[in-house]
Symmetry: C2
Subunit: 332 residues, 2 copies
C-alpha cells in the first residue's frame, strides 16, 4: 500500500481510501500497526488547531449515542444522519460493540438497519471493529475517527450499547454523550444502567410515538427532576427530551440540545476536554496493553485457575493471591 | 519478632499484639511483607467458613462509612461504636484516607475525635495508613481487617472520605456501604458525588437535630424517591433515613438498616459477595503493582513530560502516545 496515495485519497474525501485506512487502523498486525502510525502522524491532529486548512473548518462534532438493545439506536441514527446530510453535513457513523468481541454477535453500525443512510453519499457507516478487547476496539475507533475527520466528515456519531465499560469508554472519546431510553413501565425507567446518568450530557426518551407519547413525556419530566436532585451544583444539567426516531419527530430538538451542550463547553472548554480525553486515553491504552501482557503471560496462565479457586474457597486472601500472580508474571 | 507469639496474642485478642500485627501489614519493606504474608496465612481466612472455632462465631459485620468532610463521620462512629460495645460487640474502626497519602493531612480514624470509643476496651481504632497509593492503603486495610477479625472483633467499620476512587475501593471490601449526607440547601442535596449513590446500600441524612430535623426528613424523602427512579428493577432499594450522631438519635435505626441489608444478602449471598470481592481485589492489587512499576520506570519518567505536552498540544494522538510510553517502558 502506498501511504501517499492513501493520504491523498483521504484528504480528498474518497470513500475507497477512507475504508482502506480504517481497515488499516483496525488491524492488529505489527506491520499494519506501524503503517497506521505513519498514516496518522501524516494526517496530523485535526482538532481545529491546524489553521492552514483552506476551508478553516472547526473541529468535527463528536457525539456518543448509547442505549440498550431495542431502544431504537439505528432508527434514530438513520433519522438524525439523514437530516444532517440534507443540511449539508458529512456524517461518519462508527460503533463500539464489546459484545461482538466475544460472541461475534450484534455488530453495531449495522448498515442493513440504516437503509437510507448507508446509500447516502454524504454519510459513511462503519460497523464496530472486533479487535480483541474493549481497549483494542476503542483504539481502532479513535483512529477511525481521525481518518474520517481528515476526510472532511464534520459530524461523527459513535454508537454503543450498555455492555460493561463501553459507554464510559465512548464518553471518553466524544464531545457530547447522548443517552437514549424508553418510557417507564411501572414505576421504573427502563434501561438505566448504573452510572449511565452520570456520564450523559443529553437524554432522550425515544419511541415517543402514538399511544406512548404521553407516557414518554411523563418519564422525561420525572427523570429530569431526579437528575436535578442528584447532580452537583454548577454542573451542566442534562436536558431530558422526547423523540421518535421512527417518525422523525423531535430528532432535530435532540440535535439542538447536543449543540447547546457544545456551546456550554465553549471553544476553550472543548479544546481542554479533548486534550484531557487524549491524555486519559493514552494511559488507558498503556494499561490495556499491560493488562493484555498479564493475561497472556504463560506464568500467569499456569497459576490463575488455582489462585482463583483458592481465593473463592477462602483459602487465600487477595493480597497473598496478588503476590502469587505477580511472582508468576515475573517468572514468565 | 516471634510469629508464634504474635499469632497467639492476636487469637487471644490482646491489643498490643493486634497493634503490632497491623503495623506489620502496613509496612512496605520486603522483609515485613514476607512476615505479614506468613502471619496472614497462619491466621487463615475467617469468613465464617472455619467451623472448628470453639465459639462458632459467624463472619464479622463489615461496614464502609463515607461522606464529605463535615458530615459528621467521627461523631457518628463514636455514637454507633459505643452503642455496639454496650450491646456486647467488639468493634474495630479502620480508615482509608487517600488524602493523607499526598498531603500527610487529615488522617481518618482520628482518635481525638472519638474520645469515648478510643478508651473503650471493646473497641480498637486505627487511623488510615498512608502507604503510597490507594491500592497500597487498601491492601493494608484489608489485611488489618483480617487481623481484627482473627482477634475476635465482630464489627468492623471502615471510614472513608470522598476522594477519587476511595469509596469504590472501600465498597469493594465491605458487606454494606453506608453513605452519610446532609440535608439540602436550595434544591440540591449536599455532598453527593457522582457515582456514590450507585454503590450505597444504606443512606443516612445526618445532623437531623434541632431546626434541621424537618429539613433532613424532606431531603431523605426526596432522595429516596430519586433513588427508586434511577435504580434498576429487582435490586436492593437503599433505604434513606435520618439521624443525629451528635444526639445519638436514629443511630440505632441506621444500624438496623445495615443489618437488613445483610439479611437481604443472605448467608450464601454474603459468602459469594465476599469471594467475588476478594477475586476483584486480587486483580486490582496486581494492576496497582504494574501501574507502580510503570510510573516508576526510569524510561517512562524520561519521556512522560514530553509525551504529555505533545498530547495536550494536539501534536500526538493517544494511540501514538501510548506506543511511545510502552516503548520507553520496555526499554527500561
Amino acid at each position: 500500500m502506498q501511504l501517499d496515495e492513501l493520504l491523498e485519497g483521504i484528504r480528498e474525501g474518497r470513500r475507497a481510501q477512507v475504508a482502506r485506512a480504517i481497515t488499516l487502523v483496525e488491524s492488529t498486525s505489527p506491520k499494519h500497526r506501524q503503517q497506521a502510525r505513519e498514516l496518522l502522524a501524516a494526517l496530523g491532529s485535526r482538532d481545529g488547531r491546524d489553521g492552514d486548512l483552506p476551508d478553516q473548518r472547526g473541529p468535527a462534532v463528536r457525539v456518543g449515542i448509547s442505549g440498550v438493545p431495542g431502544v431504537g439506536k439505528s432508527t434514530f441514527i438513520e433519522a438524525l444522519g439523514t437530516r444532517l446530510t440534507q443540511e449539508g453535513h458529512r456524517v461518519g457513523v462508527l460503533a463500539v460493540d464489546p459484545s461482538s468481541i466475544r460472541t461475534g454477535g450484534s455488530v453495531l453500525g449495522d448498515k442493513t438497519r440504516m437503509a437510507r443512510l448507508s446509500t447516502d453519499p454524504h454519510a459513511f457507516i462503519r460497523p464496530s471493529p472486533s479487535a480483541g478487547t474493549l481497549g483494542g476496539v476503542a483504539r481502532a475507533t479513535v483512529q477511525a475517527m481521525a481518518v474520517l475527520e481528515a476526510a472532511g466528515f464534520d459530524v461523527i456519531l459513535v454508537e454503543t450499547v450498555g455492555v460493561g465499560q463501553s459507554e464510559v469508554t465512548v464518553a471518553g472519546m466524544v464531545d457530547t454523550f447522548l443517552f437514549l431510553t424508553l418510557a417507564r413501565t411501572g414505576d421504573q425507567l427502563q434501561g438505566i444502567k448504573k452510572g449511565i446518568l452520570e456520564i450523559s450530557d443529553v437524554i432522550a426518551v425515544n419511541k415517543a410515538d402514538g399511544d406512548r407519547e404521553q407516557e414518554a413525556r411523563g418519564a422525561a419530566r420525572e427523570l429530569a427532576g431526579a437528575l436535578r436532585l442528584v447532580r452537583g451544583h454548577g454542573e451542566w444539567a442534562p436536558p431530558v427530551v422526547t423523540c421518535s426516531g421512527l417518525n422523525d419527530v423531535g430528532v432535530d430538538d435532540v440535535w439542538q440540545r447536543v449543540l447547546e451542550h457544545r456551546d456550554h463547553l465553549g471553544a476553550d472548554g472543548l479544546a481542554r476536554k479533548r486534550a484531557e480525553q487524549q491524555l486519559d486515553f493514552t494511559w488507558a491504552l498503556v494499561r490495556d496493553e499491560l493488562d493484555q501482557r498479564l493475561r497472556h503471560s504463560s506464568g500467569v496462565r499456569a497459576v490463575q485457575a488455582e489462585v482463583r479457586a483458592a481465593v473463592l474457597a477462602g483459602e487465600l486472601t487477595a493480597p497473598l493471591a496478588a503476590d502469587r500472580i505477580l511472582e508468576a508474571y515475573d517468572e514468565g
